[in-house]
Symmetry: C2
Subunit: 500 residues, 2 copies
């Protein structure tokens, strides 16, 4: 086999897997957005078959002989090709370590689990979903052991989401956050609370909120010919290629701010995918490199841009145009304070910037316990509620607003949660670096975000998965990851808002 | 190979093809409902790959050896199994006659053509779409010749949509219609026109129309846990299995009747799919047997149920509840007359029952001419407009409302149009037979449609593709197909409405 022949096989097989994953992605998206309630079973069968085809190609002899050849001839490959082979090899090692029937069974399990979770959450019925949590975690532990028999399974899992991450580093990270955030939150809570009462008690028609979403997508520079917006119970982003990205939101008639930040958050994810370099398109390297890096971009848009005073000034005229009666007499400054109100709350996705990491910490500790066996699934509601009491000082009234609130476990996203907090911290470090050369506030104030998006495209977006996440961050900011930028940011912002 | 082994292979391969077709169907549906404008290219690649996999299984050695074995041992098969093999064999013969690369290229062509057509229609730009019509018809002629070298290609095409149909029969059918409809329409046009002016000049909010759709789906007994409704420029129905059917509609703010009949029409398609027998599920026999039979069910619901005086009386209170200001002072009888107003018009999907078949006739004659070469694609707008003048007496102002109005050709549905007229005629014959044992008007008046849906389920829906369409019709009505039931129905109805 020549290197050209091997590359040809690699490219062909890559395209086939890409097509299968595209189809599976659309089936999932359709399942979340348009499919009827009883469609899960039929979809599950189709997903099982497609994932089986994918498995067979990924672990098949033809592709792997080609990849083995390419690995032995790195000097004949471009830097991008070498990286493609490296990333493929890493993914394949995991896939190949899992027996095919278990892999296919897991896909079917998740498809079913997601439907069960939806209903269980609606009914606040933990018992209905508990067997699935048990199965999903047990499967993840088993897979982690197949893959790396000598590592702690949760270390393996964290590393799969964020290469280089493990429990030791994550513990240190959360300790650094706790140390600064917990006392800061105490000081905030001792001050008079920000007034956001003017938002409530009114009706914000969905149709006007849809127009607001459209406007916000334009403001943050999303190309709507390549990215559409849908409506789901839980907002998310999915992507098939750089010309086909989808975001979703959820409209609450009583409060337009919820959807507003969903759109900006998911829009941040979308921008990352929409601006992956053309040269990476169709390869395994296209799109976001990791969940944390993705969250760094979504939370950058949501918080560092979207919750800034300048951003609220920029968009407030449009808000008042769409909701003239509802926002009569309200100023942009009042809205700025309202969207930054910090207080312990029940729902992670609605949490403010300051308390958000504590929500994530609860989930991290629980996942760790489920992986090492120190927490039993049956005890989850009790433990969840105790941790919310401990870290956030609040009582959880029911499992719907407690342990059943997130879709992640039902989708097999186990070990994902730390990404949210890490992402915020990555983003804060990027913001600090960006400010050395970009007038961030000025750009937002002017409504032309291109200096900001330009920096992110240059340093993050265009690189896709060319570098591991920590390396990408270090290249972008010129030093290793340091969570102090995040805690500094929080301290400065909330000191100002609450007059500490 | 034993028959059991052969059956096992047949079943497995059948499931694989089913999965691939499910995925392709969802990709198409998503492309029509949710995907961004520039996503067609990526979707085209994925569809090409999946259709290639499908082709390889369908024409593959393993499956065909199994099928050859089963064909030789019919005595060891159940009636259903024998029919499955017969239908598979028939489909496969067509597929296998087409070279794989041409088949895959055609899938890619259609994916592109559909996107081009959408834009061309919007811009009323025939020249942009013309090359695709040329390509699509040329491909269909070529495929028809591969399949049946000795038949006229359009005969082959008609037979593929409706087994047993050919140009001779279709000509005779349309002649029988023309003979009665043209003079009837003349008499109608000589009478004072029905007044539907009270509908116009108002705004019917989309949100209320969405509630109306929900209500209508309930009235016609659609299980909404198995069938959802979406919104597209052109209403359609798609189905993946009996627990996963989708209908779409299009809301016009200035007139709720358009969407109302889209919902009932597509709902009729959906009912047929939702009530295919359980025993057929997952087999090649599940769901509607042919396009004409499908149209017989959709137009049965739309016209014989939905445009009856009893149906309007039944639903009118709900209409008035949803649109109280807009329909103030309007009676159910006025609405009944308005939704049955007959007059020549430009748009097939908005045509009344009386003129509908003439719209179809125009398309049939054009397709025939494109197939035998007597019509050149360049001349299509001219010929289209001349035929509308000839049969309907009206001038076509632009191609958007003329030759570009239908999506069919862009989807490769060439030879499909006659199904619409045939379906209406099948349905009228079913109605006549049904009335011998069912109090149709009484059932509609009571709001309990189950005597009607029960008859249709028993005689049509549950049989899936167990019988060829003409045989299924004959079994249901006890005699061969006869278009006089349709023309009798039209004559009676419009004589009464217009006082002829």
């Amino acid at each position: 086999m020549t290197t050209q022949e091997a590359l040809k096989i690699y490219r062909e097989k890559n395209e086939e897997m890409h097509a299968l994953r595209h189809a599976m992605g659309v089936l999932h998206f359709d399942g979340d957005t348009a499919a009827p309630a009883e469609s899960a079973e039929g979809r599950g069968k189709t997903l099982s078959y497609l994932s089986q085809c994918d498995y067979q190609i990924e672990t098949g002899k033809e592709l792997n002989e080609a990849v083995d050849h390419l690995k032995c001839h790195p000097e004949e490959l471009s830097a991008q090709e070498r990286r493609e082979i490296e990333v493929f090899q890493r993914q394949k090692e995991f896939t190949a370590s899992v027996p095919q029937d278990e892999f296919v069974a897991y896909v079917a399990l998740l498809n079913k689990a997601n439907a069960v979770w939806h209903k269980a959450k609606l009914d606040s019925d933990f018992a209905a979903f508990a067997p699935y949590i048990k199965d999903i975690f047990a499967t993840n532990v088993r897979f982690a052991k197949y893959y790396r028999p000598d590592s702690a399974p949760y270390d393996t899992q964290l590393d799969r989401y964020e290469r280089g991450l493990n429990m030791e580093k994550t513990d240190a990270f959360f300790n650094a956050l706790k140390e600064r955030i917990v006392p800061l939150l105490k000081k905030v809570m001792a001050k008079p609370q920000v007034d956001d009462s003017f938002i409530w008690g009114k009706r914000y028609p969905i149709e006007a909120q849809r127009q607001f979403s459209d406007y916000l997508m334009d403001v943050i520079t999303i190309n709507k010919r390549r990215c559409t917006i849908g409506e789901t119970e839980h907002p998310f982003t999915t992507m098939f290629n750089k010309k086909d990205v989808r975001i979703t939101t959820h409209y609450h008639e009583e409060n337009p701010v919820y959807s507003m930040y969903s759109v900006i958050h998911e829009g941040g994810h979308a921008l990352y995918e929409l601006h992956s370099a053309d040269a990476l398109e169709g390869t395994i390297l296209r799109g976001g490199v990791s969940m944390s890096m993705h969250e760094s971009q979504s939370r950058f848009m949501e918080n560092y841009v979207g919750r800034s005073r300048e951003f609220i000034s920029l968009i407030f005229p449009k808000m008042r145009e769409l909701f003239p009666e509802q926002l009569k007499g309200v100023t942009a400054e009042q809205m700025y304070l309202a969207v930054n109100k910090a207080e312990p709350s029940l729902i992670r996705t609605e949490a403010d910037e300051l308390t958000y990491a504590l929500h994530v910490l609860v989930r991290y500790e629980i996942e760790k316990g489920l992986f090492d066996g120190s927490i039993a699934v049956e005890d989850l509601p009790k433990i969840w509620n105790a941790k919310y009491k401990e870290y956030l000082g609040i009582d959880v009234p029911d499992d719907r607003r407690g342990v059943l609130q997130d879709s992640h476990w039902s989708n097999g996203n186990v070990g994902y949660f730390p990404s949210y907090a890490l992402g915020s911290a990555y983003g804060a470090q990027m913001l600090a670096k960006m400010k050395q050369t970009v007038d961030v506030e000025g750009a937002i104030r002017s409504g032309d975000l291109s200096p900001i998006t330009g920096w992110l495209e240059e340093h993050i977006w265009k690189h896709g998965a060319m570098y591991d996440p920590m390396e990408l961050l270090e290249r972008a900011v010129g030093e290793p990851f340091d969570p102090k930028y995040f805690t500094d940011y929080l301290e400065k912002k909330f000191t100002e808002i609450y007059g500490l």
